[in-house]
Amino acid sequence: MSDSVIEVRNLKKYFSVPGGQLHAVDDVSFTIEKGQTLGVVGESGCGKSTLGRTIIHLLDSTGGQILLNGKDITKLNAHQLKEARSNMQIIFQDPYSSLNPRMTVGEIVSEPLMLSGRYNKKQISEESDRLMDLVGIEERLRNSYSHELDGGRRQRVGIARAIALKPEFIVCDEPVSALDVSIQAQVLNLLMDLQDSIGLTLMFVTHDLSVVRHISSHICVMYLGQMVEKAETEELFTRPMHPYTKALLSAIPSVDIHHPSKRVLLKGEITSPINPKPGCRFYSRCPYATEKCKEPQELHEISPEHFISCCRAKEI
């Protein structure tokens, strides 16, 4: 018996578009254990945000299962889903568009408390005070509107709203990408503190590999809707196995001016996710591609707890 909070099995999310089926998330499986953080990385269009939104059921899944504490949430009715939602939340990328401009900070933080029906008026006001204090928003901003706040404070409001009902699981969808580095560090510290103090389990979606290395215990790398590699964080950064992961890691500009990173430059750009061919989706850009790569690739364990979907990983 494991204490996984979230377990995703063969999750699929396809969109119908002119020209066929867009495979945004294709057969993704993973588990996140209590108190851990799974980082999901990949480039724009790889399906990482869709994955996050599908897991907390903002989007209906096309296939597969999502187990929250062992219960499949893809089959819940509206009432049960509302219950489940209080246990899983999301923090969005853009703190500028994810807060209602016509609500004050206090109202935004109180809204989930009110909707839950668990609190009376006095408790709501006490609880929202506590939440604002917890995320570091000054009491004097209670009656301000979101447009009066800077990006960092807005994101703190978004975090307060997400943790209001004491969820166990939160999807963070690029929560610091829109922020300057010094503010980004403040928000990351806040998220890590909250994780320690209230025992959150996080899924952290980002394209910023240095952020993900810092905050995650495990990382999965996505490419065109599929998971290509999954491992414990330090293992992935020190021994990347998939050619795409290798290229991705080498592309991070290094701040070490005396030991510049050796780049693996990729040819071309990400190919279309509409009606993809059955073989490896990285085929057209991969420097090691062979005929064998045109066959479907299986995610397999290459060393303990290190999974990869590349048939040539052992040779290269």
Partner: protein, 327 residues
């Protein structure tokens, strides 16, 4: 005595918004030699883009106004040049790569025509035909095949569009290239391709470049010199080695401390407290003092100057100046 290629002296820029005056750039000075790259780092609103736009003369006036200083290109003050003269300089001697490739291109013109247009306007003897040939050559140089000449921007991905924007900027072999966050909108693997290409082309043309970015990793890979901008002032400048090996100003140190990459193995990051000061109401004395852990009364009241702490390495901080001169 040979004068420097680009000299910016005590540049001051204000924006007016209603009755408020925003002090965007407050006395910025720096030099740049041919073939060198200067990295300009700082947070949103530090004034980096205003500096670049004032050099190429596209600062929108109003609301912006250059209230002082000079910008000398080969000894000629660009701020005194007429619009007619600037038209010749812009795109020819100086060109700029904008941050957002999605909005920098004309959606109703083919990619090829947009490049050819720049060439036709700026080379004296280029007819339509010669311009097209040249445009194809440049397109190939940035790694786009000739077949795509007749396509429109919407048919290109973000990385490809940024290549086109770079192709236009380089079409007239500029002596000075201003790159404003050229890869911020791109994914890392595409960013690596574009940076590689920019480096290659710049070396071939021996252009000088000002690279504006907030990404210290990009600076480390691309630049010779670095200027750190905060609230419209340069607070530290020097060679890349000066800044990366001996960051001296508390703000520069704060920027490095905020980087998750630098803190591997360390759980907490060391962010800078607070945030950028309100540019309509800048603090007296050191503009960083409200956020600085070392601030004293002298910092809050005194006039803090950019002081040379080691040859070529300048820092605007009295704490460091004192230490440097006592030692």
């Amino acid at each position: 005595m040979e004068s420097k290629f680009l000299q910016v002296r005590d540049l001051q820029i204000e924006y007016t918004s209603g009755k408020q005056v925003i002090h965007a750039v407050n006395g910025v000075s720096f030099d740049l030699e041919r073939g060198k790259t200067l990295g300009m780092v700082g947070e949103t609103g530090a004034g980096k883009t205003s500096i670049a736009k004032s050099i190429i003369g596209v600062l929108p006036n109003p609301p912006a106004r250059i209230t002082g200083g000079e910008i000398l290109l080969d000894g000629k003050n660009l701020l005194e040049a007429s619009e007619e003269e600037m038209l010749k300089i812009r795109g020819n001697q100086i060109s700029m790569i904008f941050q957002d490739p999605m909005t920098a291109l004309n959606p109703l013109m083919t990619i090829g025509d947009q490049i050819a247009e720049a060439i036709e306007l700026h080379s004296e003897n280029a007819g339509k035909h010669a311009a097209k040939e040249q445009a194809i050559k440049i397109l190939k140089m940035v790694g786009i095949t000739e077949e795509r000449y007749e396509e429109f921007p919407y048919q290109f991905s973000g990385g490809m569009k940024q290549r086109v924007v770079i192709a236009i900027a380089l079409s007239c072999n500029p002596e000075l290239l201003l790159a404003d966050e050229p890869t911020t909108a791109l994914d890392v693997t595409i960013q690596a391709q574009v940076l590689d290409m920019m480096n290659d082309l710049r070396r071939r043309l021996n252009s000088a470049m000002i690279l504006i970015t907030h990404d210290l990793g990009v600076v480390a890979e691309m630049c010779d010199d670095v200027a750190v901008v905060y609230a419209g002032e340069i607070i530290e400048k020097g060679t890349k080695e000066d800044i990366f090996d001996h960051p001296t100003h508390p703000y520069t140190n704060g920027l490095f401390g905020s980087l998750p990459m630098m803190a591997v193995g360390e759980k907490r990051l060391h962010p800078i407290n607070g945030m950028m000061p309100d540019p309509t109401n800048l603090p007296k004395g050191c503009k960083f003092s409200p956020r600085c852990p070392y601030a004293t009364d002298d910092c809050r009241t005194g006039q803090i100057v950019l002081d040379e702490i080691t040859p070529g390495h300048f820092c605007r901080c009295i704490r460091n100046s004192k230490e440097a001169h006592n030692v």
